[in-house]
């Protein structure tokens, strides 16, 4: 209780000063001085309120499920996990405050945090200043090469590399891209161009749509006028979900590929059929994957959280990465972050019930996952079927840029973008 009291006063004081990171200098006295205690301390910052709560809540639930399962089975090396999981409320300033607090006051051994790339970039300077072992579990634009950050989600290149070639093969080479108008959407649109070029297709139209936009009349008639073979719809957030109802009621029936819709915020469950008819997504996970292993996971998830709406793509990343961390700590024989990082950088396999999407592996030198990518199709009744399935590794950092965080690049703390390496991107 006294901890809460202190932190609340601190938050208030910070608010009054109007400075997000003013806490930096005053955390020193309160740290408990290393985590040699009898519990392993883990911080999980996932949004349960605010703009990202729809996608953040399943992530928090899956982390909690994994922690409870591990604790019920004897913990990590016989030590119980102590979970610190305040709600960051989709607010990046609050994320910064809580990240400082979890590192300096709670002295967490590992941290999971954040849905959006903006959040990750807001806290990454703190992570790097404190050399905190950090897992980022959202699918994202890719390219983060940071000695402290392990990216568990599939990258845009992995997701689009799964669905774009499938769409080209089945529907044709004339592509129309609509994408959310911010960092992630623009980089994803660049990847569509790169992958299209690699597969003999081309993006002939491109529109970037502000995140606040929810009226798609002109977008829909522009698509109809251009009449492409298929559309890549990299739409993000609640406002953009309105696109699907409007598309269907406007009678636009051109097939659409996506890397964002359905798997994250389960539009196919929330919108009335047939809004998502003939939408094809490239994902590492949706709860409908018809394997015994996954069905078992889904029933564990809903048994624990009967009110849950969906087990989304990100949630499963939170789940398997908790188990991966456990394995790494047990192999290292310590929670010392340097030692755990060394084990992770040697590469890990995540198999069995720990990985509902199928067997996957960590590419140690680049801190990214080789994922089991599937092309998932939504039909007129909003049933999901698997159309294609293959293992796709992270390629951009490992092959194109050529990064080795376990060796020569062990001090790197930056993000690479495709425009630096491909002519097709950024044109």
């Amino acid at each position: 209780m006294s901890d809460n009291h202190v932190s609340r006063r601190r938050v208030l004081a910070t608010g009054a000063a109007g400075v997000g990171t003013a806490l930096a200098g005053c955390g020193g006295g309160s740290g408990s001085g290393g985590s040699g205690g009898d519990t392993i301390k883990i911080g999980v910052l996932e949004d349960r309120s605010g703009n990202f709560s729809l996608v953040g809540t399943p992530k928090w639930r899956a982390s909690k499920l994994a922690v409870e399962e591990i604790n019920d089975n004897g913990g990590i090396m016989g030590q119980q996990i102590e979970l610190f999981d305040p709600d960051p409320q989709s607010d990046n300033q609050r994320y910064q405050q809580l990240t400082e607090r979890l590192i300096q006051q709670e002295d967490v051994d590992a941290l999971w945090a954040g849905y959006s790339s903006a959040t990750r970039e807001a806290i990454r300077p703190i992570i790097d200043r404190e050399d905190q072992l950090y897992f980022y579990t959202t699918q994202y634009e890719g390219g983060v090469a940071d000695k402290n950050v392990f990216c568990m989600g599939s990258t845009a290149r992995q997701q689009l590399g799964s669905v774009v070639p499938y769409m080209i093969e089945n529907f044709g080479t004339d592509i129309y891209t609509i994408a959310a108008d911010y960092n992630f959407g623009q980089l994803s649109a660049d990847w569509v161009k790169v992958i299209a070029q690699e597969n003999g297709a081309s993006v002939n139209n491109e529109e970037f749509i502000p995140l606040s936009n929810q009226n798609f009349g002109s977008t829909i008639s522009n698509i109809q006028e251009a009449d492409p073979d298929f559309v890549m719809a990299i739409l993000v957030g609640n406002n953009h979900s309105s696109f699907w109802n409007q598309r269907t009621s406007a009678g636009l029936d051109i097939p659409m590929g996506t890397s964002t819709v359905m798997a994250q915020s389960y539009q196919h469950k929330r919108l009335e059929a047939p809004a998502l008819q003939d939408v094809y997504g490239g994902f590492n996970y949706m709860e409908e994957i018809p394997t015994d292993r996954n069905e078992d996971y889904v029933s564990r998830y809903y048994d624990r959280f009967p009110d849950a709406g969906y087990a989304n793509q990100e949630s499963v990343n939170n789940y398997f990465s908790m188990y991966m961390y456990k394995e790494a700590v047990e192999e290292a024989g310590t929670t010392d972050q340097e030692a755990v990082r060394d084990v992770l950088e040697g590469g890990m396999e995540v198999t069995g019930d720990q990985s509902p999407e199928g067997d996957i592996s960590l590419q140690g030198p680049v801190h990214h996952m080789t994922h089991n990518m599937r092309v998932m199709r939504c039909d007129a009744e909003h049933n999901i079927t698997v159309e294609d399935e293959r293992q796709i590794p992270e390629q951009f950092l490992s092959e194109t840029v050529g990064i080795d965080l376990s060796g020569e690049d062990s001090e790197l703390e930056r993000q690479f973008t495709p425009t630096e390496y491909y002519d097709a991107a950024g044109e």
């Binding site: 309120s49 703009n51 709560s53 729809l54 809540t57 108008d181 529109e207 970037f208 749509i209 502000p210 606040s212 936009n213 929810q214 009226n215 798609f216 009349g217 002109s218 977008t219 829909i220 008639s221 522009n222 698509i223 109809q224 006028e225 609640n238 406002n239 979900s241 309105s242 109802n245 409007q246 269907t248 009621s249 406007a250 009678g251 636009l252 915020s265 469950k269 929330r270 919108l271 009335e272 809004a275 009110d307 709406g309």
Partner: protein
């Protein structure tokens, strides 16, 4: 009631399809016109409740978006949970939000008349409470209801979105009649202009304030109800109406209902043309730039210009 939609669905395609086809064949840009109808409807309906609450009563209601959200939630829940037909659910959405508005006026807003900045802070807080309260009670998202009517015959455009233009015109016309042609409307305007004198003339000013605020809230709720079949139903959905609504009311100027009509028409047309040519992002910028230019050149808004023109024509009353 739902069968009513079916009946119009059978009749209208023949007529509308023929008319649009004929227009298209003589070179009228039909798609752009549909887009324009959609934009004007959105901007006008976004502003309509605020027209009364901010434009007439002078309360900066930053919870306006949340009132719209409430109308959409009541409508969606009435269809999905209770099983009511969509038109009935929409009426409920408007009435429910009006009732909520009446309660808020009696308990909170009443104390804030003439305190512009205070009303901003209080209604901002109210908006936060409504958004988060909705999230706690109903979760992060509701199952949406499908959009009725399908596409405009012959065009890739949602017929429902275009028909909302007629709803917008009907709502504006109705509000105009209520506030200018009925005894209630005259008393309400008298109350807001000079409460003391109105009271001296025997008007129950307390009641006038409550009813006027309830009407404004109800109109916001109606907007939410009308957009419920076409939007994503989430607690934060009201935010996307907020910018358009304030910009429209401010651009419109002092004669609020006329102003909203003029501003909705001008801003909607600009938004549609630029969205169509250069995409949504440029459309939004063009809309805001237009508003800035209008306010810069015409400090009293579009209706200020209308008054000046009228005065110059020597029709001063």
């Amino acid at each position: 009631m739902t069968s009513g939609f079916g009946a119009t669905g059978l009749l209208t395609p023949l007529i509308i399809g023929d008319v649009l086809g004929a227009l298209d064949s003589i070179g009228v840009p039909v798609v752009q016109l549909l887009q324009m109808a959609d934009s004007i409807a959105f901007i006008t309906l976004a502003a309509i409740g605020l027209t009364v609450i901010f434009g007439m009563m002078g309360v900066i209601n930053l919870a306006h978006g949340e009132f719209i959200m409430m109308g959409a939630y009541i409508t969606t829940l009435s269809v999905n949970v209770v099983g009511l037909p969509l038109p009935v659910a929409m009426v409920l959405g408007a009435l429910g939000t009006a009732a909520f508005g009446a309660i808020i006026e009696r308990t909170i807003v009443r104390r804030l008349y003439g305190r512009l900045l205070d009303s901003m802070i209080v209604t901002f807080g109210l908006g936060l409470i409504l958004t988060q309260g909705t999230r706690i009670i109903f979760g992060n998202s509701l199952q949406s209801i499908g959009t009725p009517f399908g596409e405009v015959p012959g065009y890739t455009y949602s017929a429902y979105r275009v028909l909302l233009l007629f709803a917008a015109i009907a709502v504006l016309g109705g509000a105009y009649l209520v506030f200018t042609r009925t005894e209630f409307g005259i008393q309400a305007r008298a109350t807001i202009q000079d409460a003391e004198t109105a009271r001296a003339m025997g008007v129950d000013t307390d009641r006038m304030y409550t009813v006027t605020f309830a009407i404004g809230s109800g109109l916001a709720g109606l907007t939410g109800a009308l957009y419920a079949p076409s939007a994503t139903i989430v607690p934060g959905m009201g935010q996307s109406f907020l910018v358009e609504s304030f910009v429209t009311v401010v651009t419109g100027g002092s004669t609020v209902l006329l102003g909203t009509t003029l501003a909705g028409g001008v801003l909607g047309t600009i938004d549609a043309i630029f969205s169509n040519l250069y995409g949504n992002f440029i459309g939004q910028i063009a809309l805001l730039l237009t508003a800035i230019i209008v306010i810069r050149l015409l400090p009293d808004g579009l209706t200020g210009l209308a008054h000046t023109v009228r005065d110059k024509l020597g029709e001063r009353q």
